[in-house]
Amino acid sequence: MADEPLVLGIETSCDETGVGIVRGTTLLADAVASSVDEHARFGGVVPEVASRAHLEAMVPTVDRALKEAGVSAKDLDGIAVTAGPGLAGALLVGVSAAKAYAYALGKPLYGVNHLASHICVDQLEHGALPEPTMALLVSGGHSSLLLSTDITSDVRPLGATIDDAAGEAFDKIARVLNLGFPGGPVIDRYAREGDPSAIAFPRGLTGPRDPAYDFSFSGLKTSVARWIEAKRAAGEEVPVRDVAASFQEAVVDVLTRKAVRACKDEGVGHLMIGGGVAANSRLRALAQERCERAGIRLRVPRPKLCTDNGAMVAALGAEMVARGRAASSWDLSADSSLPVTEPHVPGHDHVHEVSKENLYS
């Protein structure tokens, strides 16, 4: 095990400053500083607030991760960083830190893809990823169905949300129900005491002519909000538990149905679920049930590894080192729209065009 690559990973694509350290597929440290409270009064993540917080939190978080892992920076085999996709200004803080750190320590730098990292983190929980692996990534920022035959070089997008991310729908419905923030855990809790079949909410994009692997949660969200408002307008009490359970069922039904179908269509025997919504107990249970029935092995990491963190970046970085992938060059840039098909940003034979949007406001 000692000869497996020791890698430090930095993640700053949204409001979490994450620094993780792994040795191969073993998690050694996972330090996260979040600026979520600073954004709450704005009703969403304010990019400039996130960027300022990343700058302040970075050095202490790196320190904390090194202490937690009990390793010395000079023993690292590489520094990995989220190069994209994400908020441009926020990404740039992490990329600047990673480059300076790698350069000062004389270690190779690996700019990696945030989405591929969400998949690769499962190696820290369940060992090497099977090849191929189907991955369902669901969070407040993304909802995608991805197929990977090699997480360092081949990630194919099969489908994605055409409007809201799944996590956004949970937050918005929790807000309509006055359940507070964050929406995911509280809806999950109420839903446990409700009847998931009490109200027939729509399943977006499940018609015979709809794209098989794309998602849509905007219509569901509107439909739930309307249903609640109608109850209130009629002076009736809103059955919060039944609404939570029925809404949640509509979301996880579509997610798991499409994920299992993708596995069957592509002949893939493993389904990985990642992202913050992967913590949802009903999603886990229904996925387990449907995967078992279909003969598919389900892999879901513990919740802390599902949300944005540095360990997932380190996990993918370690895999890059292990597979001898080319390091990034010192002019690596943050790319807010890095395509999911590029698991990492290698040095010069393959320079990625920077997205200029929003980079310098």
Partner: protein, 218 residues
């Protein structure tokens, strides 16, 4: 003593090495959109030119702005991280002070003004090239016309608004060489330099992009 100085608070990505006596290598590139890409290669180039490695550096000096934030943070994050990795002190210096030091304007008073975008300038008044009289501020040129009237001025902010700054001249941007020399002078005199924390001078724009992570108030 070997000081590494860098500044990304203006459109210039500028790096210099100072050995306590002189600037021994420097690089300045003007490209407001590529601070993140240009800075590390510039550090590498400057060190190679001096025939030195980063671990020979005994202190880091960084321009703390004011300047457009996204670029400004590239220099600060890089300096902070070098400090962490090398275990050397990281000093801040006001970017406008670097410009004043390089201004070569003789006796003052004079004004330094850089481009703050959105039709505003970052500016301060100086008694001479080493003595700042006012805190750095961000204003519309027309609103400070009275305060800068009749004074010579340097910096891109002055050159951009000739109505307010009729006596504007070079240098346009800060150079890390000037920053390094000023820092070396101050350190030799036993002066304490500011902490490497950014001078933003404006509150963040509280605009939440569409289709991004939603955070509902608690």
């Amino acid at each position: 003593m070997l000081l590494l100085a860098l500044d990304t608070a203006t459109p210039a990505v500028t790096v210099a090495l100072h050995d306590g006596t002189d600037v021994i290598a420097s690089s300045s590139q003007v490209d407001a959109r590529r601070h993140g890409e240009l800075l590390l290669p510039a550090v590498d180039r400057v060190l190679a030119e001096a025939g030195l490695k980063l671990n020979a550096v005994t202190g880091v000096v960084v321009g703390i702005g004011p300047g457009p934030y996204t670029g400004l943070r590239v220099g600060l994050m890089t300096a902070d991280t070098f400090g962490l990795a090398l275990g050397v002190p990281v000093h801040g210096l006001c970017t406008l002070d670097g410009l004043a030091y390089a201004a070569d304007i003789g006796q003052g008073p004079f004004v330094v003004a850089t481009d703050a975008r959105r039709k505003e300038v970052y500016w301060a008044r100086y008694a001479d090239s080493r003595t700042r009289l006012t805190d750095p501020a961000v204003d519309r040129p027309a609103d400070i016309a009275d305060q800068v009237a009749g004074l010579p001025a340097v910096g891109a902010g002055a050159l951009l608004y000739p109505d307010t700054f009729p006596q504007a001249h070079e240098p346009e941007h800060v150079s890390a060489a000037a920053l390094a020399s000023l820092a070396a002078e101050k350190l030799a005199a036993g002066e304490e330099l500011p902490a490497p924390r950014p001078l933003y001078l404006r509150r963040p724009d509280a605009q939440v992009p569409k289709n991004y992570k939603v955070v509902t108030p608690k």
